[in-house]
Symmetry: C2
Subunit: 284 residues, 2 copies
C-alpha cells in the first residue's frame, strides 16, 4: 500500500513511521507547508518523498490528513473532489462534528473515514514522531455507517496492526467525550502554568521545588498553540460546558476550604478518588 500523509508533525510523522513498521505500507509520500518540517521528515526517514498538495492523490491508495483541525474539513473536500473510486481519505484529528457535517453531502463521502487515535504528547513537529506511539491505545472511528465497508475494514486492520483498540461512535458523542477526557486537561494545564508563572516571580524556586506533583499536572502546558486553539474553537460549546462545570467545582472546593469544612473537603476528595476505578479499567 502507498500512502500520502498531509501534515508531518507529531501525529502525521508518527503515523508514517508506525504504518511503515507494521508492514502494510511500502511507500510514504509527505506533504507539508512548512519546508523545515518537510526537510526534517526526509532526513529522519519518516517519508520517502515530499510532494506538493496538488500531487497528494497521485499513485496513493490512501491520503491521511494530520493537520490542525480547522484546516481538515476543507482539505477533506478538496481531496474527495479529486480521488478515484478506489482511493480513500482519512483524518486523525481531535474533533469530528464540524468535519462530518462539512463532508456529509459530498458524492464521495463513502471514501472518507473520520478517525481519532487517542495518543499525543506535549511535543510537536516531525522530530517528536515515534513509531510505537499508538500501541495499546484506543482509536475512535466516527460515523462508520457513512463510509464504504472496505474502507472501514482497511482502517480497522491498520489500527489493529498498530496494536490499537478500535471503537466506534457518532461524531457528536466523540466531541462531547473528547472535551472531558482530553481537551479540558490541556486547559487545566495551560492555566496552571500561567498561574504559577504569574505569581512565582522567582523562577528558580519553581524548578527547584518541582517534584511534588507539579510536573505531571503541568506537562501538557508545553503543547502547541497551533494545534490546540483550533481544537478548542471547533469544540467550543462542549469545552465551555466542561470548563464552566470545572470552575464551579473549584469554587465549591475553595468555599469549603475558606470555611474550614473538613467534611465537605473529604466528600470532594473521596469522590475524586473514584477515578482510580475508572483508570484501572483502562488496561484492557
Amino acid at each position: 500500500m502507498k500512502v500520502t500523509i498531509i501534515g508531518l508533525g507529531l501525529i502525521g510523522g508518527s503515523m508514517a513511521l508506525a504504518m511503515r513498521r507494521c508492514g502494510m505500507v511500502e511507500y510514504v509520500r509527505g506533504v507539508d507547508s512548512n519546508p523545515k518540517h518537510a526537510e526534517t521528515a526526509i532526513a529522519l526517514g519518516i517519508v520517502d518523498e515530499i510532494v506538493p498538495f496538488s500531487e497528494a492523490t497521485i499513485d496513493s491508495d490512501c491520503v491521511v490528513l494530520a493537520i490542525p483541525v480547522d484546516a481538515v474539513p476543507q482539505m477533506a473536500i478538496k481531496l474527495l473532489n479529486r480521488i478515484s473510486p478506489t482511493q480513500w481519505v482519512m483524518d486523525v484529528g481531535s474533533t469530528k462534528e464540524e468535519l462530518c457535517e462539512v463532508i456529509s453531502q459530498h458524492p464521495a463521502r463513502g471514501r472518507f473515514i473520520a478517525t481519532h487515535p487517542m495518543w499525543g504528547t506535549e511535543y510537536s513537529g516531525p522530530e517528536a514522531a515515534t513509531a510505537d506511539s499508538f500501541a495499546g491505545r484506543n482509536v475512535v472511528l466516527c460515523e462508520t455507517e457513512r463510509t464504504d465497508r472496505e474502507v472501514v475494514q482497511s482502517v480497522t486492520e491498520i489500527y489493529q496492526r498498530l496494536g490499537m483498540f478500535v471503537m466506534e461512535m457518532s461524531a457528536e458523542e466523540h466531541d462531547t467525550h473528547a472535551a472531558y477526557v482530553s481537551h479540558i486537561s490541556h486547559i487545566t494545564s495551560f492555566v496552571l502554568s500561567t498561574t504559577v508563572l504569574e505569581k512565582e516571580r522567582e523562577v528558580d524556586t519553581i524548578f527547584n521545588l518541582a517534584g511534588g506533583g507539579f510536573d505531571s499536572t503541568v506537562r501538557l502546558a508545553k503543547s502547541a498553540a497551533d494545534t490546540w486553539i483550533p481544537i478548542f474553537m471547533q469544540n467550543k460549546y462542549n469545552v465551555l460546558d466542561v470548563l464552566r462545570e470545572y470552575i464551579h467545582q473549584l469554587q465549591l472546593f475553595r468555599k469549603a476550604l475558606e470555611r474550614d469544612d473538613r467534611d465537605e473537603l473529604r466528600r470532594i476528595i473521596t469522590r475524586a478518588n473514584d477515578i482510580r476505578k475508572v483508570l484501572q479499567g483502562n488496561k484492557h
Copy 2:
C-alpha cells in the same frame, strides 16, 4: 545509627527503606497507630521492630515524624520533651510554618530539624514505599539557623547519600512555594476528577477514551484525603491565594473562548509554554 520512624505510610516507609539502603542506618524501629500498617511494615522488611509511641526515643539516635501534618507539631513537642541532648528529631511533612512556630520556644528546639523531601506519589500506605524514591529529587530544610549544627550536618549527609539536592529556606517561603508547585496541583487534579465523574455518566467512555492527556493531569486525584486535607488546612491562606488566581486565569481563558478571541487564547497558551524553560532547568 538507629532510627525510629513514626508513621509507616508511603513517605515514612520509603524513608526507612532508603536510609537503610544508603548504609547509614543499621536498625529501624517503627511506630504506627494503624496495626495493619505496622504488620505490613514488618512483613515487607521496612522496619525491624514495631514499638509503641511511648518507646519511640529509646535507644534511637534519631526520630523521624512521617505522619499527617496536622499531627506533626504536637508530636514534635512531645518528642522534644523526652529526648536526651544527643538525640534529634526530624519531620518530612509538606507544610512548615505552623510546625516551626509551635516548636519555636521549646528548650530543645536545636535538636529538631524541619525537612521536606520533594517526592510523593498518588499511592499511600507501606505497600507503596520504595527504597529509591528520593534519588535526584530536591529536599528543603527550613530554619536551619534554629537547629544545632551537628544535626543539620547529619540530616544533610543522609539526604545527600539518598541522592537528593539539599536546599534551605524559611518556613514561610517554603509554604508559599509549596502551595504553587505541589498543593495546587493536587487540587486541580481532585477537581478535574470530580468534574469528569459528575458529567460523564458513561464511565466506560472515560476509560476508553483516556490517553489524550487525561491520565497525567488526573493522576494525583488518587491521593489520600487523610494526607491532603491537613496540608490544605495548614497552608490555607497560601492555597486560597493560588486557588483564587487559578480560578481568575481560568475565567480569562473561558471568556476568550466565548468571544472567539484567538489572539488572547494564543497569548495565554504561548505564555503557558514558558513552563518548558522552567521545567528544563529542573534537571540539575
